[in-house]
């Protein structure tokens, strides 16, 4: 009887491993930080584009939700999503744009061309501040509530579907 038990355990264990493999095949292998919400964003200070002001944690206190959008003029998907940002801004969203590793003149050109949806524009010239927001590629947008807590992360460009989701959150 004892011998049979060890056999059952061995068979069971192997069966378990093989089924994990099987389930693992269906899993998406690419990692993203989409699910990393609920953290506080603090200890950052980014100068504004015109260098007269700065963007810091205090900023979030004033709004129910703040959307922080990392963008750059050299990033093609940023151009694609820009129209949604403009649309969101018209719907009353409070958006802060962080120009990522970009030249000031290029950023201004970009906004002149496509419209300016931002209530505040900060410039993260060396990209260091992006780490505080958990950014690893642009465009990325983060919705933050008045307690500086991340409510939602959007990795990659905003599309029609995400646009609606955002409207639902901030309405």
């Amino acid at each position: 009887m004892r011998v049979n038990l060890t056999r059952i355990i061995i068979f069971g264990f192997i069966f378990f491993c093989l089924s994990i493999f099987w389930l693992g095949l269906k899993k998406d292998q690419t990692y993203d930080t989409r699910n990393l919400i609920g953290n506080k964003i603090n200890e950052f200070n980014i100068p504004s584009l015109d260098e007269t002001n700065s963007f810091s944690e205090q900023y979030f206190l004033n709004n129910k939700f703040t959307i922080v959008n990392f963008f750059a003029s050299w990033c093609a998907p940023c151009r694609d999503e820009h129209k949604y940002l403009v649309e969101l801004s018209k719907n009353g969203a409070h958006i802060v744009g962080v120009s990522f590793k970009d030249k000031k003149s290029n950023t201004l050109d970009f906004l002149n061309q496509l419209g300016n949806p931002y209530k505040f524009i900060a410039a993260d010239n060396d990209g260091k501040a992006s780490i505080s927001f958990g950014i690893y590629g642009i465009p990325e947008s983060i919705i933050i509530n008045s307690e500086s807590v991340v409510v939602k992360k959007i990795i990659g460009p905003i599309n029609q579907e995400i646009f609606k989701e955002i409207l639902n959150i901030i309405k």
């Binding site: 056999r7 061995i10 068979f11 192997i14 491993c17 093989l18 994990i20 493999f21 099987w22 389930l23 693992g24 095949l25 269906k26 899993k27 292998q29 690419t30 990692y31 050299w74 590793k101």
Partner: protein
């Protein structure tokens, strides 16, 4: 044309497999004690057709026959001849054909070389091996056919990833496959042995050379992979504990354990069940590794183009293999009695197996745990170098010491454990050299010192042994001494290299100089060069080391290949007898600065030399086995 020819030959391989299985079953029922010539002939035909199919594929690559999807996707007319040939096994479909080739060749060689052994055992091995061959040819035909056609025929191919255009990498898959797929033959033999009740010494005798062959090639294959990573990837390292590398290391641990314990079975007629388990596990781990690498289940640097359908097929195959071998094992299991004295060679071989099992499980758990965790809890974690270093390195110390003691003991029972001669002298010698290492390279952690000393203990002892062998001209221990010496040196050199490499990461632009420690690096110039199939940006760096009076020019490159469009970073490596200078540069987007990675790596070349020494010992033993029989 070539496509049809290839398809036909693959089809014939399958037919021959079925015929061999059928004929063998008929032959198993009769009472004649020899294998009929018909089976030999079928086997010979099978091996001929298989090799032919592979030659057809190579021919298609040579003439750039883009009517084959496989050639179109992985080759280009402008590619150098050598890489056209190597390109045929550098992709999934081609490598699977190579895999089948090795299965068939080993099947045939095992049949003809083991003529002294019992008929039923040989026939059953042939049957099992052909079942495996059938499994893989069907997979090849239905899922990964290298001879699939493309309509209309394109004029030019897509080309081979330039990172794969490296001599070490071109030879790495064939070596590794001989190592991994070679395991199949003693998997088959193990099952045949259980089914035909052909146990004990004779079984050990029939497989030992095959174990050794696959061990040698696996070791060689893994080292070639490391060499490629060092010279081509441009990260300055040679082992990253990447899941794909781990997948190749898993069978290696099992086979190393097997190589040692098969001696116990041969000499003492004991441990049969354990040897069988190791035979089974080695090939099962090889196939598991293939599954992990080809299915895309792992996140790795060494990606093969992955396809879930492949994963499902290999998984299915793996399940059938595991469950059927387990059932056969339990059905035929007979209790053995173990009579071991502590102070005996066999006990220390068991201890070796114990360590190998520990290393194996560590790497296995580290590789699979993220997959399991992701499936069960949806959380993603990374298991990398720190984990393996923490768990594995401390255990290297006792392993090195045991490698000295074990071989000195005799079979059955030794008088005492104090058989190691001149212990005290060797230890003092090891400490002295360790002290010299400290004087030359500087201080390192307590654990590193322990590793150095125990490695030196093994090295000095092995050298003394080699000297004794040279004096007395008793050569039968020589292969073991060479391999163990090589291993000791390997650990020592890796340890020194790991502890005392100077690694720097900084940004420079043309004309600037960077100074740190006793080095100075000047970024003198930047040149453009147009080659046949790529453009290159070449940096001109002057490296000075004031302590060692080194003054060298290094020229790292950034290459932009045209087909396919790829960017690669070519490291500039100056190999010297005492150390390597290593420098890579990469452009930083939207800036004039270049990111420079500089490394001064002591004793780098000696790592490769000691690995080759380990392998050389293996081949020497193989020759000895041949002369014996």
């Amino acid at each position: 044309m070539l496509s049809e020819f290839g398809q036909l030959s693959i089809f014939l391989v399958t037919i021959f497999s079925v015929l061999i299985i059928y004929k063998s079953f008929l032959s198993l029922k009769n009472n004649i004690q020899i294998i009929e010539p018909g089976i030999y002939q079928l086997s010979l035909w099978q091996v001929t057709v298989t090799i032919l199919s592979f030659l057809v594929l190579i021919a298609a690559y040579l003439v750039s026959d883009f009517s084959l999807i496989n050639v179109y996707e992985n080759s280009h007319t402008a590619k150098p001849l050598f890489y056209k040939i190597a390109g045929s096994w550098g992709n999934h479909e081609g490598s699977l054909l190579l895999w089948i080739n090795i299965l068939v060749i080993f099947s045939y060689l095992f049949l003809i070389f083991n003529f002294k052994h019992k008929k039923n055992f040989r026939l059953l091995t042939l049957v099992i091996q052909n079942l495996i061959i059938l499994g893989f040819t069907l997979f090849l035909i239905f899922n990964s056919n290298p001879f699939s056609q493309l309509e209309p025929v394109p004029l030019e191919g897509l080309g081979l990833n330039p990172i794969l255009q490296d001599p070490a990498l071109a030879l790495h898959p064939p070596m590794l496959y001989v190592g991994f797929v070679g395991c199949s033959i003693y998997f088959s033999a193990a099952i045949a042995s259980m089914l035909s009740n052909y146990r004990g010494k004779l079984f050990a005798n029939s497989i030992k050379s095959w174990v050794l062959i696959s061990w040698c090639f696996q070791t060689l294959g893994i080292s070639l992979g490391s060499i490629w990573a060092y010279y081509e990837l441009g990260w300055g390292g040679f082992w990253f504990w990447d899941p794909v590398e781990n997948a190749s290391l898993l069978p290696w641990f099992a086979i190393t354990a097997l190589m040692h314990s098969v001696m116990v079975l041969e000499k003492r007629d004991n441990l049969y069940a354990w040897v069988i388990i190791l035979c089974l596990i080695t090939f099962i781990l090889s196939v598991t590794g293939t599954f992990l690498v080809r299915s895309g289940i792992l996140n790795s640097v060494h990606t093969f183009a992955s396809d879930p359908a492949r994963g499902i097929y290999i998984l299915l195959f793996l399940s059938v293999m595991i469950f059927s071998s387990l059932i056969i094992f339990f059905r035929t299991f007979k209790k053995e009695s173990y009579n071991f004295y502590f102070k005996s060679k066999e006990t220390f071989i068991l201890i070796n197996n114990w360590f190998m099992a520990f290393f194996l499980v560590t790497v296995l758990v580290g590789t699979l745990y993220p997959i399991f965790l992701d499936v069960v809890t949806n959380e993603k974690i990374s298991v990398g170098p720190p984990f393996y270093n923490i768990v594995i390195i401390p255990l290297a110390v006792p392993l090195l010491v045991l490698m000295v003691v074990g071989p000195q003991l005799s079979w059955i029972n030794s008088k005492s454990l104090g058989v190691v001669k001149h212990k005290a002298l060797i230890i003092i010698g090891a400490l002295l050299i360790n002290f010299i290492i400290y004087l030359i390279f500087g201080s390192s952690s307590f654990l590193s010192n322990l590793i150095f000393i125990s490695a030196l203990f093994l090295i000095i002892h092995s050298i003394l042994e080699a000297y004794k062998i040279y004096q007395k001209k008793i050569k039968f221990e020589l292969p073991r001494v060479i391999s163990h010496l090589g291993f000791g040196l390997l650990v020592l050199f890796i340890g020194i290299n790991h502890n005392f490499s100077n690694e720097q990461d900084f940004n420079l632009k043309v004309g600037e100089e960077k100074k740190f420690d006793e080095y100075s690096i000047v970024f003198k110039d930047l040149k453009l060069k147009q080659e046949k199939n790529y453009k290159a940006i070449i940096g001109d760096f002057e490296i000075k080391n004031f302590d060692k009076k080194i003054n060298k020019i290094l020229n790292p490159e950034i290459r932009i290949y045209s087909n396919p469009e790829t960017l690669t970073y070519e490291a500039a490596i100056k190999t010297r007898i005492d150390s390597d200078l290593y420098l890579t540069m990469s452009n930083i987007s939207r800036s004039d600065y270049y990111n420079i990675k500089f490394q001064h790596k002591p004793l780098m070349i000696w790592i490769w030399i000691s690995v080759l020494m380990v392998v050389f010992g293996g081949f020497l033993q193989l020759m000895r086995n041949k002369n014996e029989s």
